[in-house]
Amino acid sequence: MAMLGKTANGLYWMYRYLERAENTSRLVETGQRIGLTRLGQDDDEWASVMQSASVLDAFRAGHDEVTKEAAIDWMLRAKDNPSSVLSTISEARQNARMVRTALTHEVWEAMNGCYMAARDILARKVSERDLPKVLGLIRQRTALVRGATHGTMLRNDIYDFARIGTFLERGDNTARILDVKYYVLLPSALSVGSSLDNVHWETILRSVSARGGFRMAYGSQVNARDIAQFLILDRRMPRSLNFCASKIHDNLRYLVSDYGEETPSFHMAQSLVDRFAHHDIDAVFESGLHEYIQSVLISFGQLGGQIEKDFRFYE
């Protein structure tokens, strides 16, 4: 059974937006956390955080200076910021309404409940004191949608498009964080142990919820090479570029077997996964970390475009 192209599109975007909402709130958390541990200079960090979320340019267009309060408000609530938590949750829910017939009741109610909770809690400016509570609630609510998805949805094409949206957004997000911070990871910046570097690394790991995971995999010694290896090539790390690409590849493969037709997007995902399989991190550094990440970002973008065409998202 095929599904409507529009529905595939709606599912893909519902889960992309949901993922983006989580990523943005995670970045806000990172910014606040870093600010707390670096007395006095915290506001610099917010420009970098907004840059990681790709919302800095739009912020600058409407604000003269970067302040903590303005940055938090921009990332959490701003209606004219399409990537703010409130905007993305509204979009996710709007897409969910569009594809409601493809969702289970549990998923729809979790999504609608997530939207209602976010709308209420973000109706007013969030004070710093309330920030942990607000971020915690958003994390819980989005996790509930994801949990309901795992627990109640059939593993069919509907699920595949939801997963593809999730992992394209996630891979894109990790790549952008790396792209903003790549210079910190360069060998020339390897003044190991200096407090400045620790802050940068911690920012990176926090931004992708990887501090605990990294410690488990590599111990407490942090170095640039290991971080790059972990976030780009690690097969266990659920936000690494390799992991995201292979999940997209898996779901495209299920679609190939369901629909009995090999799509160009499947081949693109295949070559992306192959690339990660044959690379080691030293080669990545050799070819240029920045260029490498740029090329992955471009590949993710092209893959998304091809999926839209292959599955007739639009007319």
């Binding site: 599904m3 409507l4 529009k6 709007q94 309404r97 569009m98 017939t101 609608n112 629909y259 007739r312």
Partner: protein
């Protein structure tokens, strides 16, 4: 019309508990008002979370409103319902026969029972349907008959909804909510189920598939989109039936069939349950500005490639000007007197009637012939002198646009208020399905209730609410 005391469906006219409410009253007496107030709030929360909302036209996306739900069921006995069903079935058969006749030989006009003008000059008449036989011979597949009650045995048809009756999702969700909140009340009463409606609807639609259809008919629901006020209902019905919910831009004509764009290419649709008005259905055949429709769908329809439910042009049967002829229409096609009565109606196009209406504006309800949703109407007894004077001007300007009816003393049923039960006026919209297999009436329907004390306007757009409607097994 009776000038007596208003008939209450629980307490009658003389404060004697009526039989259908016996078990309910026994339960209610033992209930704690505080618990019920909490239940009322709980119900609202369920509706909000489920997203049973309607969008308010011309407002931002945030403006999704709940139709207020009242937790006190309206209860009808099986015997009362049986009687109503006979009348509804007769009326729906007549409507389908009328539509066939009007778009074919027009015998009713030849017989002098309906003036030619009523059809020829009616905007709801679709010339494109002339000589067209819809698949299965059914014009109006889904009908909602609006009824009001004035006494124990006195029901009137207020309005026929033959084009796209809405509200059935509320009937289903109201019941679902009641089942969740008051299981013990259902244990004490044998309430006839309404939950089969989506399955019945799907079967009824599939039974109307065109001859070109091979195998299991593919059914789809056509919606104007997520900004439409009834979008929730469209999605709900598609979901419950297990069929696709499509918009105009998901469809196009491919190889003489209407097909939907899927992830694997275009696939033909056999039966389209459309919730888009005639005018927007096909930009090639009707309104060229329409972005909601499917160019060329009417040509596929005429060639027998798809069933459109309800058929285009059915609006001619629920037009308010035609309404006043319904008793004649029923008699003409069924050979029997109409079982369900019409509300006496003055057609203002007729000079004598107009004169009467102008003299009695303060007693009458005056409605626009093509209006809906309770807009553009005058309720004489509750209007100020100024409002009446203004309306008089409009009426004299275009008398043909209006009909007038006496103000009925609509029955009341109890609603739950802060102070306990209080009577409010109601109407009832039962839902009817027609196919070559027969006519199916879901026991119950949508009860709309005017929540304001004394108000007769039950429309949700004007502050009305809804209730679960119970038909008991006798």
């Amino acid at each position: 019309m009776s000038e007596d005391k208003i008939f209450d469906e629980m307490w009658g006219r003389d404060e004697t508990l009526r039989t259908p409410y016996t078990e309910f009253q026994g339960w209610f007496q033992d209930e704690d008002l505080k618990r019920l107030r909490a239940k009322q709030r709980e119900a609202e929360e369920v509706f909000r979370l489920t997203g049973i909302t309607f969008n308010v036209y011309g407002r931002a996306e945030a403006e999704e409103r709940l139709i207020p739900f009242d937790i006190i069921p309206r209860i009808i006995s099986g015997r009362e319902w049986q009687k109503l069903c006979k009348g509804i079935e007769q009326r729906v058969r007549a409507i389908n026969a009328f539509l066939y006749d009007i778009y074919n030989r027009q015998e009713i006009i030849k017989a002098g029972r309906l003036p030619q003008d009523m059809i020829a000059r009616n905007e709801a008449f679709l010339p494109q349907m002339i000589g067209m036989m819809p698949p299965g011979g059914i014009y109006t597949h889904i009908v909602g008959i609006d009824l009001v009650r004035t006494g124990p045995d006195q029901f009137y048809v207020l309005e026929d909804n033959a084009r796209t009756p809405s509200g059935v999702s509320y009937m289903l969700e109201n019941r679902e909510t009641m089942l969740q909140m008051f299981p013990e009340l259902f244990a004490r009463n044998r309430v006839q189920p309404v939950q089969n409606y989506p399955a019945d609807l799907r079967r009824s639609l599939a039974a109307c598939a065109p001859n070109r259809c091979e195998g299991v008919p593919t059914v789809a629901v056509l919606t104007p989109g997520i900004y439409n006020s009834a979008y929730f209902e469209h999605a709900f019905l598609a979901d419950q039936m297990g069929v696709e919910l499509v918009e105009g831009h998901d469809l196009r004509v491919v190889d003489g069939r209407v097909a939907m764009r899927t992830t694997q290419g275009y696939q033909p649709i056999d039966v389209l349950y459309r919730r888009v008005d005639d005018d927007f259905l096909d930009p090639l055949n009707f309104n060229p500005e329409s972005a909601l429709g499917i160019p060329g769908i009417m040509d596929v329809y005429r060639s027998g490639g798809i069933t459109i439910a309800n058929a285009p042009g059915t609006g001619i049967a629920d037009d308010k000007a035609i309404y006043s002829y319904m008793p004649d229409i029923v008699e003409f096609y069924t050979g029997e007197k109409a079982i369900l009565e019409n509300v006496p109606t003055w057609r203002c196009s007729d000079p004598d009637s107009l004169a009467y209406v102008l003299d009695h504006l303060s007693e009458l309800v005056v409605k626009e012939v093509h209006g809906s949703g309770g807009y553009g109407m005058l309720i004489g007894p509750t209007s100020s002198k100024k409002e009446i004077a203004e309306f008089r001007k409009k009426l004299m300007n275009k008398p043909g646009n209006y009909i007038a009816q006496p103000t009925l003393s609509l029955s009341t049923v109890p609603i739950f208020t802060k102070a306990g039960l209080a009577p409010r006026h109601v109407d009832l919209r039962p839902f009817v399905l027609c196919s070559p297999e027969g006519i199916n009436i879901t026991p119950g329907g949508l009860t709309r209730v005017a929540l304001k004390k004394g108000s007769l306007v039950v429309n949700s757009s004007q502050g009305g609410g809804t209730k679960d409607t119970w038909v008991l097994e006798d």
